[in-house]
């Protein structure tokens, strides 16, 4: 069993409104081992991005507030670190790739400037070495003629190329963990496949762990070693990719899987889970999924479900569904 690189324990992040408290992340625990790809899956607004941002202490405070929990990275609790100590971790040990490659690059600097900065923030390198490293990074992420591209501004690159640049910046200091927050959502499908392949090949060559946040189960099936399914700020199911896809133990996971278009059900109407994710400020009592759940019983309305162990690391938060 490999050691846990990152383990998040019972994390609670609340956002204070004028007279409401939005419980965006409400007791989330997950682990990432060395060299592993872990997917965090869920609908929009279920707390995936907030969980990821909290790891790097990037949520806006106020209104955000970490109420409880620990984020252990290589044994140290990141939530207890000061801002200067945290700055040394960001980019150097944990890097992040954002959802929108169009807006995540500063429009007024060349991509060369931005990659150089990503390196220089953490390592004082000579200009020659710096240039060589930038070119190597761009070549690693598959950008043609990197020497010339360094002088380009973000608006001169296509969306896919910009995301490649973002990945290059994330990899600049050789981080142990890369958090990818829906990096392919804004890209079209062919580019999406290229980016996924790129991330996989880089990961294989550098023994890096990836926390991949997505709502796209197709992506999950492609890249994940293990999956955490999130709903309304909690983890409702976790397990290896095979387990989750072959024998989902939570009605929400089942619903998500049924919503995927598939060849066997060609021509039929697509399945959808009725309703939407509850407002994090007004969550239903008991199991947060019960208003949308097809198998809900009366007990679901009052009792918050505990994690049930199905063996082999597969856990789910539903007492009703039997394996």
């Amino acid at each position: 069993m490999k050691q846990h690189l990152l383990s998040v324990r019972d994390l609670k992040v609340y956002f204070r409104g004028r007279d409401t408290v939005a419980r965006a992340v409400d007791g989330v625990s997950f682990d990432i081992r060395k060299g592993e790809t872990v997917c965090l899956v869920g609908e929009s607004g279920c707390g995936k991005t907030v969980s990821a941002l909290t790891i790097l202490d990037l949520i806006p405070k106020p209104p955000g507030e970490v109420m409880a929990g620990r984020v252990l990275f290589k044994g140290t609790d990141l939530l207890g670190l000061t801002e200067p100590e945290m700055r040394k971790i960001r980019g150097k040990q944990i890097a992040m790739v954002f959802q929108e490659p169009l807006t995540s690059l500063n429009p007024v600097f060349t991509i060369g400037d931005q990659i150089r900065e990503a390196i220089l923030v953490h390592e004082p390198v000579s200009p020659d070495e710096l240039n060589r490293r930038c070119i190597r990074l761009l070549r690693d992420v598959g950008i043609p003629s990197p020497e010339e591209r360094l002088k380009d501004y973000p608006h001169q690159l296509s969306g896919g190329q910009r995301q490649r640049v973002m990945i290059a910046m994330a990899l600049a200091c050789g981080p142990d963990l890369v958090i990818a927050d829906e990096p392919t959502t804004a890209l079209d499908v062919t580019v999406q496949a290229q980016i996924l392949n790129l991330m996989q090949s880089i990961q294989e060559s550098s023994e890096m762990s990836v926390l991949y946040i997505t709502h796209d189960l197709g992506v999950v099936a492609n890249i994940a070693d293990r999956v955490y399914v999130m709903y309304a700020g909690i983890i409702v199911e976790q397990g290896t990719t095979e387990e989750i896809f072959s024998s989902p133990g939570h009605p929400y996971t089942k619903g998500l899987l049924a919503s995927l278009p598939s060849r066997s059900r060609r021509g039929e109407q697509l399945h959808s889970i009725p309703g939407t994710v509850p407002n994090p400020a007004y969550k239903p009592s008991g199991c947060p999924f019960h208003p949308r759940c097809p198998t809900a019983v009366d007990a679901c309305k009052v009792r918050f479900p505990e994690m049930i162990d199905h063996g082999a690391g597969h856990l789910s938060r539903c007492p009703v569904v039997k394996q």
């Binding site: 941002l53 790097l56 990037l58 106020p62 207890g80 670190l81 000061t82 801002e83 200067p84 700055r87 040394k88 971790i89 960001r90 980019g91 150097k92 890097a95 992040m96 954002f98 959802q99 929108e100 807006t103 995540s104 690059l105 500063n106 429009p107 007024v108 600097f109 900065e117 990503a118 923030v121 953490h122 070549r139 598959g142 043609p144 003629s145 380009d152 501004y153 001169q156 690159l157 296509s158 190329q161 973002m166 910046m169 600049a172 290229q194 392949n197 790129l198 996989q200 090949s201 099936a221 492609n222």
Partner: protein
Amino acid sequence: MRNTQYPITDTQQALEALSAPKKTRLHELWALFRENRLAVIGLVIFVLFLLTAVSGVILTSGQNPVFDPAMVRLQEKLLPPFTRPHLKALQPAQVPTLGIYLFGTDNLGRDVFSRMLQGAWVSLTVGFVAVGISVLVGVFMGGIAGYFGHESICLDHILAILVLSAGAIFLFMGWIGTGAACMAAGFIYTAVCLFARTRTGQAQRRGIFRMRAISVDTVIMRMVDIMLCFPSFFLILTVVALVPASMYNIMIVIGLTSWMGTARFVRAEFLSLREQDFVTAAKALGVGNFRIIFRHMMPNAVAPVLVSATIGIATAILTEAGLSFLGFGVPPPHATWGNILSDGKGFIFDAPWLTFIPGVAILIVVLCFNLFGEGLRDAMNPKLRERG
């Protein structure tokens, strides 16, 4: 499922190379700017003015200047422009360099052309330095208000500032003992606070002294509002009456009373920039706050600042001319366009060129700065680009 189909193929490379035109932002900006003919005229006059001012300071300063603005020739007073000097009445040293009084002479027989040359440098430096000061202050204040605006100032911060300023006042009044004690207490308290803050990462907010009194944004922006309430020309007049009159004091005073517009611009830009993804991305790379403010956000906010600065230069030149006209500006014998105008107003019927020439010079320079500034704004504002 795991296939690694990369690096990308050659066709794709070729296609991507085609799709991205090689054009920097500066080229684009120049292309847009060039379409506005008035703005280009403004730029040309601005460059001419710059050259005139720089050559003016070289030609009129030193022991034996090429053009001597202080040379008094009483026998040649109030001559109209383009008059030839009476060579017989003058000593060889008094003969104007050009051999002609290009802009005429004033009531002391000084060559107005030389004085205009000297005054151009004053106008230029006052314009640039005053606007430089106002932009620096404005950008700093606006940047702090926009980026750290949501942070609060607590009661104990106010207390520390009060103790420190009380100490300063005591020291100023000569009560060394009390003053030093106050200053020391204030500094020690600040140091302890800062130390505690870095230790825990975030300051604990408990007790009456840690109550959030007011936000940084409120403090700075209300200060701006208060500054804007004063009629600035009279504020400048008051200050100039108090401090000794010199070119540098004038620059500083004009600069410190005109930063409010810039602060507002920068704050507004920062409020929207702060939420941009690239700022979060920079944070995620481990970039520090001040580097984010000045390296990542400032270049994005610089366009409106540049435009308001260009127009600000025109205003500063006008203000300086106004001050000089009223006799509060750069002290004589140094010539400025304002005091040439002021000297000439007594002879407006006998020698109209004494008021006309500096007046027209001020008008042209101010107009060209305004035109240039507006052209720059139109070129930089993407919303106005489509207008054609």
